[in-house]
């Protein structure tokens, strides 16, 4: 990986190297895919203890303006106006065709100010999208801000000691706080299915913050490999794989992210890009749907594997798959026709030409353990 000159480094780069991280190019950054512990143990360590993830490659954007909430509602099927201060919501930037341009977390920082965390691979286009559509808002990409996620059963023990008020947050709430004397914004969120926190901190103080967290011996750096297996077991979509501009939120099985008030029978029905298509899918059903799969045997079924029905007709494709360390079995997700999407439906996935039995399974495949108070 010596030809890395085109890739950016996060503030934590030297820490990853010191921790034995194996660095790979990812979305324009050199990021740790794993540490000496290995993906399997990193995954299990996160679930049972506390894992620290460098997610500074993700985009952090502030949107500010007197009508910011109403303006943002043009781009996402979410009741942004209804968000209380320090409340956050999962959201999608929809396209005019009803597809998904990116998925994100939006947090209300103030009446007129929203904090968005978007995918690394989409951040430039997201900022351009915001600037194109929100002419009355100030769009501020936070280029000197790091982001780390502290995830797992014991994450709250650490935060209780370092910033006691954050332990009172419930899932999808945040607050401005101090850890030691470091200013940061902490939310109770993450993408592992576990209880946990995401901490936004200025680049200048990022390493000092990591030192505070890593002082706990049960807190370990965790790489992108385990981040992927954790979110897969938790049934969470990876943008560009499990959903993209060609899938609507309904097809992606994230209809829950469409606020009641933005639906056809809601008080603010429609009014977002692609509303006709998306609300049509909600009302009449889509033809395909993202589902989770359990796989017979131990051979992982990975992205790109074709799905066949019992008669051997090709009916869909796997969009994410791998081995689930908590389940100790392969797990996957993919798209199938709605008629074949019921839990328990038996299908086959073709892995290197060989059929492997797969069964539509209820997601999440590993129960989520968010803290809801």
């Amino acid at each position: 990986m010596s030809e890395s000159s085109g890739n950016r480094k996060t503030q934590f780069y030297d820490y990853h190297l010191a921790a034995g991280g194996k660095m790979v190019p990812f979305a324009g950054y050199l990021m740790p895919v794993q540490y000496p512990l290995g993906i399997m143990q990193e995954h299990l360590h996160t679930r049972d203890h506390a894992g620290l993830f460098d997610v500074s490659h993700m985009g952090q954007v502030l949107v500010r303006g007197p009508n910011a909430a109403a303006e943002l509602e043009k781009l996402m099927p979410v009741d942004v106006e209804a968000l209380a201060i320090n409340q956050q919501s999962y959201a999608t930037f929809t396209s005019g065709d009803g597809g998904i341009l990116d998925d994100l977390i939006i947090t209300r920082w103030a009446q007129d100010t929203f904090f968005l965390v978007v995918n690394a691979g989409c951040k430039e286009q997201d900022v351009a999208h915001l600037k194109t559509h929100l002419l009355d808002c100030e769009i501020n990409y936070l280029d000197h801000q790091s982001l780390i996620a502290l995830q797992g059963l014991r994450a709250v023990e650490i935060m209780t000691e370092l910033a006691p008020e954050t332990a009172a947050l419930v899932f999808m709430q945040g607050c401005h706080t101090q850890i030691g004397d470091i200013e940061c914004y902490v939310t109770r969120s993450g993408y592992t299915g576990e209880d946990g926190f995401e901490i936004s901190v200025s680049d200048d103080h990022a390493l000092a913050l990591a030192d505070e967290l890593l002082a706990y011996d049960y807190c370990q750096w965790i790489g992108l490999g385990a981040r992927d297996s954790l979110r897969l077991e938790a049934g969470l979509c990876l943008y560009g794989h499990d959903m993209d501009e060609h899938t609507s939120p309904v097809e992606a099985s994230i209809s829950w992210s469409i606020s009641k008030s933005r639906r056809s029978d809601g008080e603010k029905a429609g009014g977002f890009l692609g509303a006709d298509t998306i609300l049509g899918h909600l009302a009449n059903g889509a033809t395909k749907k993202r589902v989770g799969f359990l796989v017979e045997g131990r051979a992982p079924v990975r992205e790109g594997a074709e799905i066949a029905d019992q008669q051997g007709n090709l009916v869909g494709v796997i969009t994410s798959g791998g081995f689930g360390p908590s389940l100790q079995a392969p797990v996957a997700m993919g798209y199938v026709p709605v008629g074949l999407s019921a839990v328990g439906t038996q299908l086959t996935a073709l892995v290197r030409g060989k059929p492997r039995s797969i069964t539509v399974a209820k997601m999440p495949l590993v129960p989520q353990r968010y803290y809801r108070g």
Partner: protein
């Protein structure tokens, strides 16, 4: 013991009498990470050099083992079916993958010996 030679694809070949046992090196298993499944070749299958003989699935990705020489598969390590992690813990001993009867014995000059292989790894391939 036999004579052990190495390929640039990080496989080892142990030559004993007229049999060649094939596995992956310690370096390869480190690169692969936690192995969760191995697809073994069928005993009796005739393979040509370069053919895909086995697939090693780790948590991270799938890696193919190409057979380095022509031959007929005479034995596979069935233990790996239930204990794929042997490939991580003992890749150069108990984690051997398959054995074949080569069409002709490999020309040692086409491969690396242990010392050359270590140098090859240090040079970063």
């Amino acid at each position: 013991m036999g004579h052990v030679i190495y390929t640039k694809d990080h496989e080892w070949l142990r030559i004993e009498d007229n049999l060649v046992t094939v596995g992956v090196t310690e370096f390869a298993q480190e690169q692969l990470g936690d192995v969760v499944f191995i697809e073994l070749p069928e005993v009796g299958s005739e393979l040509m050099a370069g053919d895909e003989a086995a697939v090693i699935e780790s948590v991270k990705a799938a890696g193919e083992i190409a057979v380095p020489i022509d031959g007929v598969v005479t034995m596979v390590n069935e233990t790996l079916v239930d204990q794929p992690d042997l490939l991580n813990s003992a890749p150069e001993t108990e984690g051997w993958i398959f054995q074949l009867t080569p069409s002709e014995m490999p020309d040692i000059a086409d491969f690396m010996d242990a010392e050359q292989y270590q140098q090859y790894i240090q040079d970063g391939e």
